[in-house]
C-alpha cells in the first residue's frame, strides 16, 4: 500500500501534538551539542518549530525498541511477620510496551529495526520484550533531505529515500511535506488527520529523492563482501595492522542502530531483585571473558574482526545476504581515532577471492517462505537484497 498526503509544517507539528495525547512520541531533540531522541508532550510539540524535529540524531533511535537497559523480571519476597521462615514472593514482569510513535528517523535508522528483527523475532526464539515494543512502535521516517559525508546506505542495498522498515516516509517539498503511507500501522496513525491529498506532488517527491541520492559518491560493489571477508578471517596480520589505532572504546557499537548484543545481570538482594538486560559491545574485552579467566578474544584486532565480520559476513551468511550494517556512518563520525568501517570493508575485500556465482546465496525472494512469518503488523518483509546493486531513483 502506498498513498500520498500533503502536510504544511504547522499541520505536521499539530498532528504530532495530537498523537502525543495517548502515546509516547519520540522526536530528535537538541541536548547540549548532541541530538538525542526524547519523548515530547503535546505542548512541547506544538510549540516546536518543525525544523527542530528534523535533525539527524547523534545516537541511534534503537533505544526506542531496544533500550540501553531494561528490567526483564523483578521479584520481591516478604517475610511473614509471625513466622519469618514463611516467605511470600511476588514476581513481576515489568515489560512495558507503551504505544510509541518514533518520528523523524532516517531511512538507515528505520532499516536498522529490520536488521534487529531477524535475530530478535524471526529466529527460533522470539524475544517477547523486543517484540512487544516493536509492535507498539510506529515509525515515521524522514527521507534524507541531504546526505552526510559519512553516509553509505547505498553501499549496503539501500538509499536515502528507502521506506524499508518505516510505516510512513515523509519528504520535504516546497511548502511542506509529502507523507507516503506505507503500512496499515502508518494508515492508522494518519486517520482523522486533516492532511490534503498529495498525489499531485509525486513528481516533486521523486525529484527530491533523486537530488539527494545523486549527492552520494559512487558505491563499490559489495556483492562478494561476505565471502571475501570470511576469507580474510585468518589473516591475523591484516586485522592487527588495521586496528593499530583502535582504542577498544566501544563507542562505535553503542551508537550503531544495528548492534544487537546484550548482557544479562542480576541486581538487588535476596529479598528484592531484578534481572537486567543491557547493551553489550564486542569491542570490549569483557564481552568474551570467560569465568575461568580465559579470553578467546584478548586483542582488539580480534574484536574488530568480529565487528566487521558480523556486519558484513556472518549476518549476511545467516540472513539471505543482507548486511547488518545500514550505512548510517555514526561509527565513522564519532570514532575518536577516525577509524572508518568503509575502509575496513574495502581493505578486507581487496585481493580476496569471492565465492563462485553458483555458491552465492540464493535470492531472498525464494527463501522468504522458509523464514518464520513476521507478526501481522510488522513492516513488510525486506525486499532489497543487500547483494543486489543499490537501487537509485
Amino acid at each position: 500500500m502506498s498513498s500520498l498526503l500533503f502536510a504544511t509544517p504547522a499541520e505536521l507539528t499539530a498532528w504530532l501534538a495530537g498523537l502525543a495525547s495517548g502515546q509516547r512520541v519520540l522526536v530528535p531533540c537538541q541536548e547540549g551539542p548532541s541530538v538525542v531522541y526524547r519523548p515530547r508532550t503535546a505542548e512541547q510539540l506544538s510549540a516546536a518549530g518543525v525544523n527542530a524535529l528534523l535533525r539527524r540524531s547523534t545516537s541511534s533511535p534503537k533505544q526506542a525498541v531496544l533500550p540501553q537497559c531494561e528490567t526483564l523480571v523483578a521479584f520481591k519476597s516478604v517475610k511473614d511477620e509471625q513466622d519469618p521462615s514463611k516467605v511470600t514472593t511476588t514476581v513481576e514482569n515489568p515489560c512495558k510496551a507503551e504505544p510509541t510513535v518514533l518520528f523523524g528517523c532516517r531511512p538507515c535508522d528505520a532499516r536498522g529495526f529490520v536488521v534487529l528483527d531477524r535475530p530478535y523475532l524471526h529466529g527460533p526464539f522470539k524475544d517477547p520484550y523486543y517484540g512487544a515494543r516493536r509492535e507498539a512502535t510506529t515509525i515515521v521516517t524522514q527521507a534524507c533531505p541531504s546526505v552526510f559525508a559519512t553516509c553509505f546506505c547505498h553501499w549496503v542495498g539501500s538509499h536515502p529515500a528507502d521506506g524499508e522498515g518505516s510505516d510512513i516516509l515523509f519528504t520535504a517539498v516546497e511548502g511542506g511535506f509529502v507523507l507516503d503511507i506505507l503500512t496499515e500501522k502508518g494508515k492508522a496513525l494518519v486517520e482523522g488527520a486533516a492532511f490534503a491529498d498529495g498525489s499531485d506532488k509525486a513528481e516533486a517527491v521523486a525529484a527530491a529523492h533523486k537530488a539527494t541520492a545523486e549527492a552520494l559518491a559512487p558505491a563499490p560493489n559489495l556483492s562478494e563482501a561476505a565471502a571475501k571477508i570470511a576469507a580474510r578471517f585468518t589473516d591475523t596480520a591484516f586485522w592487527t595492522r588495521e586496528t593499530v589505532k583502535c582504542l577498544s572504546c566501544g563507542a562505535c557499537t553503542y551508537l550503531c542502530p544495528t548492534c544487537q548484543c546484550f548482557t544479562i545481570t542480576d541486581e538487588g538482594s535476596q529479598l528484592n531483585g531484578r534481572r537486567l538486560r543491557s547493551w553489550d559491545s564486542c569491542m570490549t574485552p569483557l564481552f568474551t571473558l570467560e569465568t575461568s579467566g580465559h579470553n578467546p578474544r584478548p586483542d582488539k584486532s580480534q574484536r574488530m574482526r568480529n565487528r566487521v565480520s558480523h556486519k558484513f559476513s556472518f549476518y549476511p551468511e545467516r540472513y539471505d545476504g543482507f548486511f547488518s550494517c545500514v550505512g548510517c556512518g555514526r561509527c565513522v563520525i564519532s570514532c575518536p581515532v577516525s577509524l572508518d568501517i568503509r575502509h575496513m570493508v574495502t581493505a578486507a575485500m581487496e585481493g580476496m577471492e569471492g565465492k563462485k556465482p553458483a555458491e552465492a546465496p540464493a535470492a531472498p525472494a525464494e527463501k522468504t517462505a522458509e523464514t518464520p512469518k513476521a507478526p501481522a503488523d510488522a513492516p513488510a518483509a525486506p525486499k532489497t537484497p543487500a547483494k543486489s546493486k543499490s537501487k537509485k531513483r
Binding site: G32, T58, A149, K245, A251, E267, L286, V332, P336
Partner: protein, 484 residues
C-alpha cells in the same frame, strides 16, 4: 537502613577499628547520650577509606558521611591517616562540582579513650546535617541542558600553518627507523581533510604520510603501554608529552623502550566547533590552513574560520606547547607563555556560577544522554587498567548496568577519582565522548584543587612524587575543621 520518619537522617560513619570505633565504644560504655542517626561501618584504618566509599554513600541517598580515624601520629599502621587526610580533604573540595554540599562530609580524629570527644563529634555532625536537612535527591532536581560555550582568549597566538620543521622531524624518524626502531606512532590524514588518524609508521613511505597541524588531536601516549617490551617511538605535542611523562613515572613504560619525537605546537582544533560552522553533514571538499586561518570548502560553500574560533580550550590556556621530554626535537621551540594568574578555566567557570542544586541539575541533564560506551575511558592515556577497570567488576560492584543518571555519573566519579593527581589535562576523555558530555570538568575540579593545595601539576617531572602517594606530618596547606 531504617529511618525514623522525619526524625532521623541517613548518616554513614566510617570508623577505624583501632581508635574511633573504640572511642565510640567508650562513649557507649559511659552511657553518653548521643544522636542515633549515625550508621557505623568499621574499617581497619581511615587509610582504608576509599573516597569512592564516601561518594557512593552520598550518591545513593546518604544525607551525611563522617570518616573518623586515629589522631595524626597515632595511626595503628603509622601513616594510614596521613594518606587519608590528603585524599579526604581533596574529596571534600571536589564535592561542590557535582552539587553536593561539602558540609555533608567531614573527616576527623578520635582516639579510643576519647568517649566524650566522640560524643561531641557525633552530636555536632548530626546537628550540622539536621540543619542542612535531607540531601536533595537526583530524582527530584530539575535537569538542565544549557552549556554556554566560552571562547577564552588564548595566552599566545595560535596558528595552523604548515610547520617549517616537519621535514626535519620526518628525517629524524626515518633515521631512527633505520637504526632499528620498530615503528613510530604519529598522525596521518584521516577519511577527510579535517580528520587525522593515528598511524604506526614502520617504513619511510609511511613516515612521508606523517602530518603535523591543527587536526592532530589524538594523544598517542594512550597506545604506549601496549607496546611494552618493544622498541618504538612516538610523536608528541606538548600536552601529549605530559602523558608520556606520567606513564614513565608510574613505571608503565620504560624510558629505554620509547623514543620521543617532539615539535613546537601551535594549537589544535575542537572538531565540533568546525563542524558547527559547516552545512550539516556536508562532505569536506578541501581544507587549507594558513597563518591562523582555516578555510574549509564543504557542501559547495567556502567557510573561513580562525584558530581563535575553533581551537580546543586546552590550547587556549596551554603553557607547555613544546614536549616536556623528548629525544629528538625538530625546529625551534615555540615560546611558552606564563600561566594565567586569574585561574580561568572554561567549563568550570560556568559550573562555579551555578548553585549546588543547579549543578546537580546540570550533571543530571548531561549524563542523561550518556550511552555508557566508556569511550572517555578508552581514550584516556592514564586509564592504565585497560581490560581490568573496576567499573567492569562485579565484586566489588561499584556500578550496575542500570542506565540511571546516578550510575552513569558514578562511573565518571570513578574515572575522576582514579585520575586525581595523575590527570595531565589532555582532555581526550571529553573529546572522545560521542555525546559531547563535558566530563573533563570533573577531572579539572580535582586538578585545580591539587594545584591549590599541593602546588602540583601532573606530567611535568618523571621523578616527581604525586601528592596522593606521599604526605607531610604537618600539612601546612590543609586546614582541618574540628567537630568536637
Amino acid at each position: 537502613m531504617s529511618v525514623l520518619a522525619g526524625k532521623e537522617l541517613r548518616i554513614v560513619g566510617f570508623l577505624c577499628n583501632w581508635c574511633s570505633y573504640g572511642g565510640a565504644d567508650t562513649a557507649g560504655t559511659a552511657r553518653a547520650v548521643q544522636p542515633t542517626d549515625l550508621r557505623i561501618i568499621r574499617v581497619p584504618c581511615s587509610g582504608r577509606v576509599n573516597p569512592l566509599f564516601v561518594l557512593k554513600a552520598l550518591m545513593n541517598g546518604a544525607d551525611g558521611v563522617l570518616v573518623s580515624g586515629c589522631h595524626p601520629r597515632d595511626c595503628h599502621y603509622s601513616s594510614g591517616n596521613f594518606y587519608a587526610r590528603r585524599r579526604l580533604e581533596l574529596l571534600k573540595q571536589f564535592l561542590p562540582v557535582i552539587g553536593i554540599d561539602p558540609e555533608r562530609f567531614e573527616y576527623t580524629w578520635v582516639s579510643a579513650s576519647e568517649g566524650q570527644r566522640w560524643k561531641d563529634v557525633v552530636t555536632n555532625f548530626t546537628a550540622r546535617i539536621h540543619a542542612l536537612g535531607p540531601a536533595p535527591r537526583w530524582e527530584d532536581v530539575p535537569a538542565r541542558y544549557d552549556m554556554p560555550v566560552e571562547l577564552l582568549e588564548s595566552l599566545r597566538p595560535l596558528g595552523c600553518g604548515e610547520h617549517p620543521a616537519l621535514p626535519e622531524l620526518k628525517q629524524a624518524i626515518k633515521d631512527a627507523l633505520a637504526q632499528g626502531l620498530e615503528g613510530v606512532l604519529g598522525w596521518k590524514k584521516g577519511f577527510d581533510a579535517i580528520h587525522a588518524e593515528p598511524v604506526f609508521m614502520t617504513t619511510p613511505e609511511e613516515v612521508d604520510s606523517l602530518i603535523w597541524g591543527p587536526f592532530n588531536v589524538q594523544n598517542l601516549a594512550v597506545f604506549l603501554p601496549q607496546y611494552k617490551g618493544r622498541k618504538i617511538g612516538v610523536v608528541v605535542k606538548g600536552c601529549d608529552s605530559k602523558g608520556v611523562v606520567e606513564l614513565l613515572s608510574e613505571g608503565l613504560i620504560s624510558r629505554d623502550e620509547v623514543q620521543i619525537f617532539g615539535m613546537g605546537c601551535n594549537g589544535t582544533v575542537n572538531l565540533s566547533r568546525i563542524l558547527a560552522k559547516l552545512p550539516e553533514g556536508a562532505a569536506i571538499e578541501s581544507c587549507a590552513c594558513r597563518g591562523n586561518k582555516i578555510t574549509v570548502t564543504a557542501g559547495g560553500q567556502t567557510i573561513e574560520m580562525t584558530m581563535a574560533e575553533v581551537a580546543q580550550d586546552k590550547c587556549r590556556l596551554c603553557t607547555k606547547p613544546n614536549a616536556v621530554i623528548s629525544d629528538a626535537f625538530a625546529g625551534t621551540p615555540t615560546t611558552e607563555p606564563e600561566a594565567p594568574q586569574d585561574g580561568r578555566l572554561p567549563g568550570l567557570r560556568f559550573l562555579d556560577s551555578l548553585s549546588l542544586e543547579e549543578r546537580m541539575g546540570f550533571w543530571k541533564g548531561q549524563m542523561e544522554r550518556c550511552i555508557a560506551c566508556h569511550a572517555c575511558r578508552g581514550a584516556c592515556p592514564m586509564c592504565v587498567c585497560r581490560d581490568h577497570c573496576v567499573s567492569d567488576s562485579r565484586d566489588p560492584e561499584w556500578v550496575t548496568q542500570e542506565d540511571t543518571v546516578q550510575q552513569k555519573l558514578f562511573f565518571q566519579l570513578i574515572h575522576a577519582q582514579h585520575l586525581a593527581g595523575r590527570c595531565t589535562g589532555c582532555t581526550e576523555c571529553e573529546r572522545a565522548c560521542p555525546m559531547d558530555i563535558p566530563v573533563f570538568a570533573l577531572k579539572q575540579q580535582f586538578g585545580r584543587t591539587i594545584q591549590k593545595i599541593f602546588s602540583y601539576g601532573a606530567g611535568l617531572d618523571v621523578n616527581a612524587t604525586p601528592p596522593l602517594l606521599t604526605y607531610q606530618v604537618e600539612e601546612t596547606t590543609i586546614k582541618e575543621r574540628d567537630l568536637a
